[in-house]
């Protein structure tokens, strides 16, 4: 009876131990799974580091710090809120980094330190150091928790490496795009920049030449040419600067309540000279103040109107219309010009793209690209269509800010 009892109790203990171990493993697996899921959801190195810190911090009730390798050195890059690292803690991280081995609290090296540092290793080397420090200085890690940290560290290392590689790839891509833009700029623009300079230099050198007797009309025409070409050059430089701002993402959109009528009026005023012989019909429903960047939106309308003037015959009308739908407002600029070949409709907003015109329409192929950049910076969109009865119509649609419904 006694023997049977002993055997049974021993068996019970073993079964319980096994059950406990299985449960522990299951819990570990679950935690690790959650950790990798959090890491997978994070995009970019900063988010990845935040996910690591939050997750390990909560699971192990510890403050967490991440050092990242930068060449031969390593620097603390992210940490739990309020965590400030001491010199001696840094020394632990340095040791772990240099020896590629865990160090600090609970290890064989510098065990009296409050921080425990794990190298973040991948096949390509040590990407950084993971440091954990108990919030309660008397709390020690269990064997299970130590195992967990090891697993967390290897997952974290992979996630960080992946994020770094993605960043490098993006950077390379950006550089390539910038290079392509620069080449396109140089090819397309050097011609456009030089042409006005040729005319200006030519006109000025003729005027300067004392030996040539110029009659008044010729002098006048030379001066007009030089001055017109200088204006064209200035316009081109302005467009290039705008385009660079759009490209570099440096465009700051100041969203503030604006009077659409005032925006349209300011654009018309800027083009007063060019619009002299044009009937311009402005159709405004009773609009509320809507949120936008006043100056940039004037620029968009100036470019659209300028385009309408260029691609339609003198004297033909231009219509500007603004209205509010339930969640958006819409501004259209329409002309009775030559329209746009259907195959070009989508491409007119591309940089340096110009619809082929035989007779001397001058432009930089940047105006509409700038419009698109500005409108997109407002989270809106712009489209071109051919108009019923001839001509083209450009529509820009912009979201109304909350609480602004027509």
């Amino acid at each position: 009876m006694l023997v049977v009892g002993l055997v049974i109790s021993a068996l019970t203990v073993r079964v319980r131990e096994e059950a406990d171990a299985a449960q522990e493993r299951e819990a570990e697996t679950a935690e690790l799974y959650e950790f990798t899921r959090d890491l997978a959801a994070a995009s970019g190195i900063e988010e990845v580091m935040q996910a690591i810190i939050t997750h390990i911090g909560q699971t192990l009730s510890r403050e967490v710090v991440i050092f990242l390798s930068e060449g031969e050195a390593h620097k603390p890059r992210a940490a739990s809120p309020g965590f400030s690292i001491t010199e001696s803690e840094r020394a632990v991280a340095t040791w772990a980094f240099q020896h590629d081995t865990p160090a600090g609290r609970g290890t064989d090296t510098l065990p009296e330190s409050p921080i425990r540092c794990h190298p973040l290793k991948t096949s390509r080397g040590v990407v950084g150091i993971l440091g954990v420090k108990p919030t309660d200085p008397t709390a020690h890690l269990t064997r299970r928790q130590r195992r967990l940290i090891e697993s967390f560290a290897s997952q974290a290392a992979l996630a960080i490496e992946r994020a770094q590689l993605a960043e490098q790839a993006r950077h390379t891509h950006l550089l390539q795009a910038t290079e392509e833009l620069q080449t396109a700029l140089l090819n397309s623009i050097s011609h456009d920049l030089r042409t006005p300079l040729v005319s200006i230099t030519g006109a000025l050198s003729s005027l300067r030449e004392d030996s040539i007797a110029l009659d008044e009309a010729t002098r006048r025409s030379l001066v007009d040419t030089a001055s017109g070409e200088a204006a064209r050059l200035n316009h081109l430089v302005g467009n290039l600067l705008d385009m660079t701002r759009v490209e570099a993402g440096a465009m700051r959109v100041a969203q503030e309540p604006c009077d659409v009528q005032d925006v349209i009026g300011s654009a018309l005023e800027r083009l007063e000279g060019l619009l002299k012989d044009r009937p311009v019909k402005v159709d405004l429903a009773n609009l509320p103040l809507v949120s936008m960047d006043f100056v940039l939106m004037v620029q968009v309308l100036v470019n659209l109107l300028d385009n309408a003037i260029k691609y339609s015959a003198p004297g033909t009308p231009i219509d500007v219309c603004a209205r509010v739908t339930n969640s958006h407002y819409e501004i259209t600029v329409a002309d009775r010009g030559v329209g746009i070949p259907p195959e070009d409709l989508a491409r007119v907003f591309d940089k340096f793209y110009r619809v082929q015109r035989p007779d001397g329409v001058i432009g930089t192929g940047l105006g509409l690209a700038i419009c698109k950049g500005i409108v997109e910076a407002h989270s809106g969109n712009i489209r071109a269509e051919n108009r019923q009865g001839g001509g083209s119509i450009f529509t820009l649609t912009l979201p109304l800010a909350k609480g602004q419904t027509g």
Binding site: G238, C258, D259, Q261, D262, G265, L268, L284, L289, F294
Partner: protein, 230 residues
């Protein structure tokens, strides 16, 4: 108005621009003095006693804004900024610091002369002239009466104040901040929407086509200006 005897101080560190301005302004009977730095400009205003200053923003020793600010500590001399900077923020900063006008390079000499004359006129005609006439708009500040084509116009007190401030600075660009401070008072400088609504209402009352205003003009991103000679 004749420009004879008028003295102008040109402040720019670019020799080519000073040379061109000297030639053009001398041809229009201005007596031209030059300065190449902010310090020279401040000293030049004292020694040459000019009637007007033309000031570049990017000077080697200090910003043109700073020169404006220091001059405004003791002088009301008209200051016209000439700059390649076309950002509204630069214009606003210059005008708020006390500049009278702002012209972006490149510019035509005709435009510069017009702005110079207007700035000088504003300072010589004392603001004690209560009657303002521009085109078909008449504003009698003494009687608080406004007529358009001889017809009386009814304005709300705020619209009237707005028009009054514009009239007392007719021809000059007033920044959003300046208008808000003068009409609504301190602490309202950022309530741009109130200004926009009242400008819109004012235009509907005094402009025949509020989309193409003739009197109350918009300086995009900077402020508003009442046209003095419509």
């Amino acid at each position: 108005m004749t420009d004879s005897e008028l003295r102008v101080l040109v402040v720019d560190d670019e020799a080519a621009i000073r040379r061109f301005l000297r030639a053009a302004l001398t041809a229009h009977d201005f007596q031209v003095f030059e300065a190449t730095t902010g310090q020279e400009a401040l000293a030049g205003v004292l020694t040459h006693r000019p009637d007007i200053v033309i000031l570049d923003l990017g000077l080697p020793d200090m910003e043109g804004i700073e020169v404006t600010r220091r001059l405004r500590e003791w002088s009301k001399i008209p200051i016209i900024i000439l700059s390649v900077r076309e950002h509204e923020q630069d214009k606003i900063a210059a005008l708020d610091a006390g500049a009278d006008d702002y012209l972006t390079k490149p510019f035509g000499i005709g435009e510069l002369l017009a702005r110079m004359r207007a700035a000088i006129r504003r300072i010589t005609t004392t603001s004690e002239l209560p009657m303002f006439v521009s085109g078909e708009l008449k504003v009698d500040l003494a009687r608080r009466s406004i007529t358009l084509r001889e017809q009386p116009v009814q304005l709300t007190p705020t619209e009237y104040d707005l028009l009054r401030v514009l009239v007392t600075h007719a021809g000059k660009v007033l920044t959003h901040h300046q208008l808000l401070r003068e009409v609504w008072g301190m602490g309202y400088e950022n309530e741009t929407h109130m200004l926009r609504v009242n400008i819109s209402n004012l235009r509907h009352k005094i402009e025949s086509d509020p989309t193409r205003p003739r009197y109350v003009l918009t300086e995009p991103g900077v402020g508003y200006r009442l046209r003095a000679d419509a």
